[in-house]
Symmetry: D2
Subunit: 315 residues, 4 copies
């Protein structure tokens, strides 16, 4: 694994190594040759630092998993630091796990299974039922686990199906996740700039640090959205890292900053929160358009502003 | 009492007849000669109709009493009708009642006391204690009651102290209100136009008709103000006149429509309510300035709007 | 009109005089002979005082009109005073006004029309169109106005249709209300005691004095109902009579105090308000049953309480 | 590391191996000999399974870290599964990291540093500045990392200071956390039963699954606490594991289930949420008593219930 992008032809990065679900996400977002020469960064931090420094234009990193929740490393990189970044696109990848080994062996012969802790969590019941005596060893990625099986360090790996081919392993079992249908959401992150145009099916992502860490403050924050008829699709607390009980909130709202209702809600947060970090407005991966209530649409906003201007006597 | 303004020199009207608290309010608002030739309108409706028609520039009418509540006739005139009016000024008059008769008589000799029903309500306990056997007869105003005492129709009247002089009566007792300190608020009403300049101690008055007549809708209406840190000083429901259980709400808010927080709250109501009738922004009679929270001041609004514009890439 | 109930056979009173809509309401609630000997009280205060003193068992008084709103005299009697009363039943009467005179005369000959101010308000447009030159004189009741027409004091009266027969007058016009379909709601008030049994279509009426007179406090009050899924059918502010801007709230909720959700909401108000005055739980006049959400029904309450008791280890 | 408690004398377990912060927490909670023979469980799941099965009475596990947030493994074990558990005590341990090696070596000679991913996250900046060329390798615990340094697998480990003594290592540097003052909160978990007695400074922990996954539902959930004046100290969303965008909420509230306000809030959640899992009421580690508002104290609840009972006529 290289520790920085090698050449100027590498404009896109992703959380490496190759052969993980992140590479799969990258290829969904980049069909062309730039995917082939994309840089497999050694960590989320390294990928995003390269974007901040201008060595990469964008990087694809995991953001959220339907079983494990937020990917802390990504969220913390986006939340903290003094050089903000912005999400520009997203895609979903269905997570499927396979048990890989160097050759066909009875499951009873497996002593040591390596995998990433998130993958271990998602296959725990299957492993406990089928290889109850095997030790499960955490590795830094499912691809690295597969690599170490090929290197004869471990007997088997829980990894993405495509790791078999890449590392010359055989597949002992597929579809071994305890809950089929787990999905990971990946985002492509770039430097701040005007967002992609609104499509009618957009998400706006932001992080809000509330001023007083009390329940009333969270209610007030939610009211900033409710007063503008902006629905939330996600609200997740994160410790700010300063003390037990200090949180910030990752919020995802239906709509695009170019819509007046979203712009007004953002401005309301800016006024009333200690800090708001805008993380982008971008098309939904599922392209599902939520209907905008008539009283929250652009025409209703325009009419209301003209009415106030008339009352003020400014027109 | 004249049924319409007599001459073009009468530019101001008030709820007549002369000698009531409303005339006192008129003189607080108009020190000059226009008060002397003000038109004493026979009813609130007549006064406001003359303003609508342009026969008067403004009219002074009672709006709210600290004991009796809103003056329905005034509110209904402002709420209903297709030619809106606007409050331009307000003043407060302390209500003091006197018992007036043609000459000094023992209280025990009084058989019939005339007064306006509101005045009767505010002196009920005093009358029950001091003239328990007297019949209390409702008249259309306290001034008319005094006039009819002078005309020997009744033995005594409960009226404003200044009615004694005007009708040649003597004062048997003063300060006879059951609750001293009752105050009536009067407003001067004109045709719509740019409001008087903000003073830092202003009130904005409006009437909101909520879309669905359910408790949640009232909560949502209150949130439109709360989300902009606009405090309310008054919230009063009124039947809309269409059916039992159908209400509109008279709302008075701290601030002036030229403040962005008030403008945004009004625009929010305009979008989400069935109808909003703006009744004016004008200086408070008590000149009491409520401090504006920093996050709700003009600078916070400007900063937030510039921030959103930057994020949108429009600057 | 008698100033107190004459005999012990008079157990029911009503706001007199006879021949008004209140008598009509009384006869809807009391079909039997007790209606015939009911006491026509000279005022709402007198009627309710007789109930407080035990001279009457109950009294029927007007409570709310779909055009004019609350009947202040009734509300204030129920709100104030140190001997509480309770509403035990309600009924609705459609308000129809007639123009009555001593004999058939052309409308153009009518100079002075007497009526109660509420009736004047509800027929204002009709009178302005048909008898534009007539003076409208306020009297203490529509029945008294009719009586004074019979006594030749006035030319005509706006009154309830049944006043014609009672006072030997002729009907010049009927159905003269500006807004047909106006309804007045009457309540039968008694001394405190266990409420009538729940019917599934009940109303609970109360008055709440909030602790701090700020908009947040009203929001909190509404939350006490919302947290228990209790809908409100009516919320009306009233000045407390102490100063401008001090209000209490008359609240009517769907449900009966014997339902746990209503009981818990009432207890929540009792804890958080400065004062709560319970004015009764009683069947709705329209018998309309609102469905109770499953999570707010008695079974859900019982289950939840048993669950907490188990967790506490008390069972 | 043993895979199950060895003898009946082992009544307490903890997340092993020995020599971690969890052992430190165990010793804060258990001063006596039961700590010396406590079972170091190989995983949080194994520790809690042994409690469920009755092989252990309680187990001490990490719950929350001021930098990393919730410990997913613990939360998920408490949230999921059909045999609920309960938190009985908590303690806080300040997290201090040391860099350990087999002998004194210049930092520049270190090539491979092992540690647990959480520890890597909390010392990232220090490692990047002082050993920028070293590879950081994830291990399943900081104690295991130290053990593997002793076994000459790695050059150095980031671990708890007490691991040096236990594994015969030397301390190259101490206090290497990027943010000093990080604290981990540990809980002692047992089977369900009556909670420890209220102390006046208690926490109640629970998990709520809201019925409809919409922002309004979260607002309603917060209102269940607000309506009873119960403050929250922690609100953390967790994916339910079923689909992207499906959350449950871990909630920590001020107070004890034996307080009526907490009991009523819990009952309210039970009625209105899809599911509520109660995770215990227990003394706060910091013993800080939050004052209970008068209207939310036991006397206010008792008074309110007696009042309602009187109104119902049941007393």
């Amino acid at each position: 694994m290289d520790h920085e992008p090698a050449t100027t032809s590498q404009v896109v990065g992703f959380l490496g190594p190759a052969g993980t679900f992140t590479e799969q996400a990258l290829r969904l977002l980049h069909a062309g040759p730039e995917a082939d020469c994309a840089w497999p960064a050694p960590s989320v931090a390294a990928a995003l630092e390269a974007v901040r420094d201008g060595r990469l234009v964008t990087a694809v990193v995991p953001f959220e998993n339907s079983v494990e929740g937020s990917v802390s490393a990504t969220l913390d990189e986006l939340i903290r630091g003094d050089r903000p970044l912005q999400i520009r696109r997203e895609t979903h990848v269905e997570v499927q796990f396979a048990l890989l080994a160097r050759q066909e062996v009875p499951l009873g012969h497996i002593r040591r299974v390596a995998t990433h802790p998130h993958a271990a969590a998602q296959t725990r019941e299957w492993l406990a039922a089928r290889v109850p005596d095997a030790e499960v060893i955490p590795e830094s990625s499912t691809a690295r686990a597969a690599e170490l099986v090929a290197a004869e360090v471990y007997d088997a790996a829980v990894a993405a199906p495509l790791a078999a081919e890449r590392h010359g392993l055989v597949t002992l079992a597929t579809g071994i996740a305890d809950r089929p249908g787990a999905v990971t959401r990946f985002v492509e992150v770039g430097r701040p700039g005007p967002p992609p145009a609104a499509t009618g099916a957009d998400t706006t992502t932001l992080v809000a640090f509330i001023r007083n860490n009390r329940p009333g403050a969270l209610l007030e924050l939610l009211e900033q959205f409710a007063a503008r008829q902006v629905d939330l699709t996600r609200l997740e607390s994160r410790p700010t890292g300063t003390a037990l009980g200090q949180y910030c909130f990752t919020i995802e709202a239906v709509g695009h900053i170019d819509e007046p209702r979203v712009a007004e809600a953002l401005a309301g947060l800016r006024r009333t929160c200690a800090e708001v970090r805008y993380l982008g407005s971008y098309p939904r991966a599922d392209q599902r358009a939520e209907p905008v209530p008539e009283e929250a649409g652009p025409a209703a906003y325009r009419d209301a502003q003209e009415w106030v201007a008339r009352l003020r006597g400014h027109v």
